[in-house]
Every structure is written in structure tokens, then in C-alpha cells.
């Protein structure tokens, strides 16, 4: 999914927004789904395109453009925005795609007409061909609200269609909505105000934005942007017209119509909110840290991965190549009860008798077989770190279950509507480090995938906030794959290492953001956040999201894992690995106090951090050494994908500084901790 998003972005930048309505003959009609944040645009997009983009219950889920073909149309999903403007990076993305649209399908949350119709009127004033999808009609019924759809359509001058995206109601009328989209009733005064500028720009759309003070759009046409006062005038006029329309079309039949979410309230108030947060974290800990990373993974990795998959594959290879197999029978406490060595100088198939003995001995309870091949190529592909053995076990039987667990939890959190409330509760705390509560959203998403979160920083109000959060994400936030390995290694190490790890990472977080807050010029923006209602997550959506993310993860990760494993294997054969190990030895053994083989983890970690941790699995480490290794790997450089996205979003200077910064900090802090605890 990540790559897709990036690709579709490139596509956008190539298609320079051109004159508003002109439908270039020959090219397909461009239909853009636009609307306020969190109104269901992405649900419609998924339906129309047959593709998958994330749907979640917080403003700011979609932060880039995704496009697809639907019938004769090109359909675009856009980031939510309360109006067409350029207050944040995310809004600029939405603005440009709306400017280039032939048809706008304006998705509206019927429960929030006051808020949503502002954008609708603006789109109409821009002279866009519009149809309105009055979404959330299921909630409207539940809350006993009556909306006069015909009257609304008449006042706006465009089609208005009732829909309920999650109940798939009204989907059959989408074609009608696209075909019958038209330019609505524009306020006469606004029209006159724009007429001069529209002559220069060729469209009302850009003329309106210029009048509203959009510097970039003005530059594109070499004209002067309007002043803040101009914008305010237009905004206030529009706001009044919205209120006027809503008064005419909306009736609340019941006094009990007000949504009252008790749980939603409780998450805001610290007295109840902090215990709720603690509870949520505890559930996550038990689910991922205990259930998945110990019980489930223990089974999948050892029983299925090593016991069945690797054993059979390696045994098959041993049939045809000279090999020595050592089998140990382990007792209940992992003590060696019995041990035998089998030698097959011509391969196992040449000595059926011994092979049979090996088979019966190695299939006893508690047996562990160690295959050593003479042939370096066989070792490279099927040996202990074999490209086809270790990598597959690691990817499929260790990482995949862990990552699925994390994605599942994240999906539940995202769909519940909890994140914006957590953002509100933590607002004050984040103010201290130069952020506002909204920063919680990209940071929490970072625990899922840093690459995705790097793009989501677009929802933040200022550049300095984006810089601070980007740094936090690369330095201290472990992504799910990484958390998975950390949880797994820490489960072996115990509680004290967990505490040391958390305290260290937290201290770096505070120090880093405090320093950046001091250094970066300007001021951060205050919180202004529309809170969605809390709801019970939709199981279907949660499962779908978990599946798609896990699929996307595997699709991206496996290449790197195979390439990485091959690289490490080759370095091992050519002795380059020992050169690297010896080179880093002073750092690894004296400063970090780890065995010199731990240096493997650092080359592997440059590819992907979760892959780096794989370098730690087969080294004997004490609990404290695990702690140091994990701290170092967590701070260490971001994975290649997120590095690339970071460069794209934040530029070379910032990207490279962060990258180098993570190297220095990782080794400095790792060593410091090592000197204290080992």
C-alpha cells in the first residue's frame, strides 16, 4: 500500500492542476471524492475502485491521493478538509486535486451539516460540477433527525443523495450522482467579486482561492493574493449562508436526539482517562507481549518453523550433499539429555541405514537437529542463516504472527475513535515539547508503520511540528515489526530489562523533542480538533485492514529479507563479515559490551530494523546485553522505505541529519546504558 500511495503522488505532481472545469477532450473524466475529514470518502472510494485504502475513525486517515479507474471515470480519493485552503500540507494536497477535478462528489456527514456545508458552498462558488452525498443516513435515523433533502437540493442547486456508506445504502445512485453533477447556485455577490480575477485565471475556482489569499495559487497566475480581511469577509458570508440553509432543512424531532457518548467523555477527563489509557496499554501488553509473542510465536516458530519446515527441508538437502548432523535431545529445562552425531560424507541417500537411524533419533520428543553442510552454497541457502531456511522461518513463523497481532490492535484503536480523544487528553503534555495533541495521531500510527506515519505528519499545523514529530518517529518510535521482535526478545529477558528499555527510550524522547523545540524557529500551532464520536469498531473493517497491512508488510519486507540474508551469507563466505566484525569490535565489545557477532545486526539493521534484530537471535546474550542491543537497534537508522519517504516529505537536509543523528545517538546511548548496567 505504501508504495502505491507514493506512486499515486508522483502521478499527481505530474498532472499540474489546470483550469477548473475544462474537460480535456479525449482524457477521462476526473471524479474527485471530497469532503470534511472522517465522513466516509474512503469507504466510497473502496467501493467504486475495488481497491483498498485505509478507513478509520479519526480525521486525517487519508493524507495523500489515491486514484483508480471506475467505468469511464478516473476516481480520486482525497484527504479530508474543512474547506479548500492551504493551512496544512494535507490541505494543499486536497486543494490541488480538487482544482483539477472535472466532477466533485462531495461527501457530507448529515449529522454535521453546519460544519460540512461550508465546504459544499465553497465548492459551488468555485464553479465546480458537484453532487452531494448525504452520508451517515443510518445515524440520522437513529438520532431521529429529519433532513429535507429536496429543499437542500433546491437551495444548493445540485443533486443531493442520501447514503449510508457502511450499510452500502445509496451506492446504486452513485452513477446518477456523477452523471448529473452540475454547477450549483453561486451567491451573486461572490460571483461579481470574482469576475475580474476569473478573467485572468480562466476559472472561478482559482479566482476564489486567490481572493481567499492562497499564495501558491496566486503565484501560478502571477497575481496578488487577497488579504486576510478579504478571506474573512468571504468566510463569514459563507458561514451565514450555511447557517441559513441548515435552519431551513434540518429538524430535530426528538429532544433525545443529542448523541451522548459516555465513554467518549470519560476518555477526555484525566481522572477517568488515565486509567482508561492504562487499561488499553495493559490489554495491548497482554495480547501482544504475552499471548502472541510468547505462546503463539513459540508454537509457530519452534514447532512449525524449525521443527517441521526447516527440519524437513534441511534433511532433504542433506540427502544429496555431504553433511554432518548433530542431534541433541533436550529435557524439560532445556538441558541436554542425549546427543549423537551423524556423518554423511556422500550425502544421506548414500547411506540408508544410518539415515534411518538418524530419522528415528531425530524425531524423538525434544530433539533439536543441527545440520552442517560442507558445500558453501548449500550453507548459504539452507544452513543456519540460510536464505531459504532462516529467512522463511523468521518472516512467516515469527514476524508474521507478531505483526498480525499488532495490526489487529492498531486497527481496533483506529476504528474506535479513541485516538482524537487521547490527543485531547495529552494536549497539554505535548505542549511542553513544542507540539499539540494532534501529534498523537502520527506518533501512534508510527507504532504501526513509520513510513506511513511520516506522511501523516502532513496533518500537523506548522513545519516545526512536522520536524519534531518526524525526528521522534525516526529516533524513538519502534514500528510494529520492530516492536514485535523487541517484545519477543524482552519476553526472554524479563521485567527489569523492559523497564530499563522504556525509561531510556522515554528519556531520549523528552530530551530530543525539548532540544528541537528550543532550536527550531517559529511557534507551534494550538490544538483545534474536531472529535468524532466513539463507536464499537467494525469487525469487518478491522480484519480487512489487518489483512491488507500484513499483506503489504510481507510484500515489501520479503525482498529485503532475502536480499539481506543473501548479502550477509555472501559476506560470511567471503570473510567480509569478520572484517566488519573486527572493524567494529572496539565499539561492540568495549563500548556496547556485546559479543563481536552483534555487529551483524547493525549491517542488517540498515536494511530494515526488524531484520537487524534477526542478527541478534542466534547470539548468546545475557538479559542486560539484550537490553543494550535492543536500545541500540531501536534508535538506530530507520528502514530504507521510511528513509526514502522522509527525504521526500522533509527534504535532504533534514532527512540526512536525522539519519546520521540516529547512528550517533544509537551507539552513544547504547554504550552509556551498557557501561551502567553490564
Amino acid at each position: 500500500m505504501k508504495t502505491e500511495t507514493i506512486a499515486s503522488e508522483n502521478l499527481l505532481s505530474k498532472q499540474k492542476p489546470t483550469n477548473g472545469n475544462s474537460n480535456k477532450s479525449g482524457s477521462r473524466t476526473k471524479v474527485v471524492l471530497a469532503g470534511n475529514p472522517n465522513v466516509g470518502k474512503s469507504v466510497f472510494f473502496n467501493h467504486l475502485s475495488g481497491m483498498y485504502v485505509d478507513v478509520s475513525n479519526f480525521p486525517g486517515t487519508t493524507v495523500s491521493i489515491t486514484s483508480a479507474q471506475y467505468k469511464n471515470y478516473n476516481i480520486y480519493d482525497s484527504p479530508g478538509t474543512y474547506g479548500v485552503s492551504a493551512f496544512t500540507e494535507e490541505e494543499k494536497v486536497a486543494r490541488d486535486v480538487i482544482l483539477s477535478a472535472d466532477v466533485v462528489l462531495n461527501v457530507v456527514n448529515s449529522l454535521h451539516l453546519h460544519r460540512d456545508l461550508f465546504l459544499t458552498l465553497q465548492l459551488i462558488e468555485m464553479g465546480k460540477k458537484v453532487s452531494v452525498l448525504l452520508n451517515f443516513s443510518d445515524e440520522v435515523k437513529k438520532n431521529k433527525i429529519k433532513i429535507d433533502v429536496e429543499k437542500l437540493s433546491q437551495l444548493l442547486g445540485v443533486e443531493v443523495i442520501e447514503t449510508s456508506a457502511i450499510k452500502k445504502e445509496g451506492f446504486d445512485k452513485l452513477d446518477f450522482a456523477i452523471e448529473n453533477s452540475r454547477i450549483g447556485n453561486c451567491d451573486q455577490k461572490v460571483k461579481e467579486l470574482l469576475s475580474d480575477t476569473a478573467k485572468i485565471t480562466g476559472s472561478e475556482a482559482e479566482a476564489l482561492l486567490i481572493k481567499e489569499g492562497d499564495v501558491e495559487v496566486a503565484k501560478r497566475h502571477n497575481s496578488d493574493p487577497g488579504t486576510v480581511d478579504d478571506r474573512e469577509y468571504l468566510y463569514i458570508q459563507r458561514r451565514n449562508r450555511v447557517n441559513n440553509i441548515v435552519d431551513q432543512v434540518e429538524f430535530e424531532n426528538s429532544t433525545k436526539g443529542i448523541i451522548f457518548s459516555k465513554l467518549g467523555r470519560m476518555t477526555l477527563n484525566p481522572f477517568t482517562g488515565i486509567p482508561i489509557l492504562a487499561f488499553v496499554l495493559l490489554v495491548i501488553y497482554f495480547f501482544v507481549g504475552d499471548l502472541i509473542s510468547q505462546r503463539v510465536v513459540d508454537y509457530t516458530e519452534n514447532e512449525i518453523g524449525v521443527g517441521i519446515f526447516e527440519y524437513n527441508l534441511k534433511s532433504l538437502v542433506a540427502d544429496y550433499t555431504p553433511s554432518t548432523i548433530t542431534v541433541e535431545i533436550l529435557g524439560e529445562n532445556d538441558d541436554v539429555i542425549d546427543s549423537r552425531s551423524f556423518e554423511f560424507p556422500q550425502g544421506k541417500s548414500e547411506n540408508p541405514e544410518l539415515a534411518e537411524k538418524f530419522k528415528s533419533f531425530s524425531t524423538k520428543d525434544g530433539s533439536v537437529s543441527d545440520f552442517v553442510y560442507e558445500n558453501p552454497i548449500a550453507t548459504l541457502f539452507f544452513g543456519e542463516f540460510g536464505v531459504l531456511t532462516m529467512t522463511i522461518t523468521y518472516l512467516l513463523f515469527l514476524l508474521l504472527p507478531l505483526v498480525l497481532g499488532f495490526y489487529f490492535i492498531m486497527a481496533i484503536l483506529e476504528d474506535s475513535g479513541y485516538l482524537p480523544r487521547l490527543a485531547t487528553m495529552l494536549d497539554r503534555t505535548l505542549n511542553r515539547i513544542g507540539l499539540n495533541g494532534k501529534a498523537v495521531i502520527p506518533i501512534m500510527l508510527g507504532f504501526g508503520c513509520i513510513t506511513m506515519a511520516n506522511i501523516t505528519t502532513r496533518i500537523l499545523g506548522t513545519n516545526r511540528e512536522r520536524s519534531i514529530v518526524t525526528a521522534i518517529l525516526q529516533f524513538v518510535i519502534p514500528c510494529s515489526a520492530q516492536l514485535a521482535v523487541i517484545a519477543f526478545l524482552l519476553a526472554r529477558a524479563g521485567t527489569v530489562p523492559l523497564l530499563i528499555f522504556m525509561v531510556t527510550i522515554f528519556t531520549i524522547l523528552i530530551t530530543l523533542s525539548t532540544i528541537l523545540n528550543r532550536l527550531l524557529p517559529g511557534e507551534s500551532s494550538p490544538l483545534l480538533l474536531d472529535l468524532p464520536t466513539m463507536k464499537i469498531p467494525q469487525l469487518r473493517n478491522v480484519l480487512k485492514k489487518t489483512f491488507f497491512r500484513a499483506y503489504g508488510f510481507m510484500k515489501e519486507a520479503y525482498v529485503w529479507f532475502f536480499v539481506g540474508a543473501l548479502g550477509i551469507g555472501l559476506m560470511q563466505i567471503t570473510n567480509l563479515l569478520s572484517v566488519w566484525q573486527n572493524l567494529l569490535e572496539p565499539l561492540t565489545t568495549n563500548w556496547l559490551k556485546l559479543p563481536k557477532e552483534a555487529a551483524n545486526a547493525f549491517i542488517m539493521g540498515m536494511v530494515r530494523r526488524d531484520f537487524g534484530a534477526a542478527g541478534l537471535f542466534d547470539i548468546q546474550l545475557s538479559a542486560m546485553q539484550i537490553t543494550v542491543a535492543i536500545i541500540t537497534i531501536t534508535i538506530f537508522v530507520p528502514c530504507i522505505a521510511s528513509f526514502v519517504v522522509m527525504l521526500k516529505e522533509r527534504g535532504w537536509k533534514e532527512g540526512i541529519s536525522i539519519w546520521i543523528g540516529t547512528w550517533i545517538t544509537a551507539f552513544f546511548i547504547g554504550g552509556l546504558v551498557a557501561q551502567i548496567i553490564i
Partner: protein, 73 residues
């Protein structure tokens, strides 16, 4: 001195008297918060973050922003 939004207490119903100037004003107007509007304060957090409600809509405002909005109780 005029009363500002950060002084509001949980449960208060209040009228917005004056919004701060600049971009933030436009953003507030867009969201539906305008001068003269009556809203209720449904939560006030220890750091001064305020949550307002208007009809079915709940909006959180940071303390710095709340301090710059003048209100009448």
C-alpha cells in the same frame, strides 16, 4: 478585562464574543465557531485544554487558543 474561554468551567454555556485574528480565525469560522455563537463547555482539562459542544459537534481547543478567544457567560 474581557473574559476569555480558558476561564470557562465545565458545564458552562457561553457566547463567543471575539475570535483572535489571523489564519486561526478562518479555521474557526470554517468549523462553525463564529462570533455571537452560543456553545457549551463540556470538558476542561487540567492543562487548560477545552472541549466545546455545538449541537452534535465536539471540538477540542488548546489552552493557548482558548486564552485568545473572548467570551460572555
Amino acid at each position: 478585562m474581557a473574559l476569555t474561554l480558558d476561564k470557562a468551567l465545565k458545564g458552562h454555556s457561553l457566547t463567543i464574543a471575539k475570535l483572535p485574528n489571523g489564519d486561526i480565525k478562518s479555521q474557526l469560522i470554517r468549523l462553525g465557531i463564529t462570533e455571537g455563537l452560543t456553545v457549551s463547555c463540556i470538558e476542561k482539562l487540567p492543562g487548560g485544554t477545552i472541549v466545546l459542544r455545538r449541537n452534535r459537534q465536539e471540538i477540542a481547543l488548546g489552552s493557548a487558543l482558548a486564552k485568545s478567544i473572548e467570551i460572555v457567560l
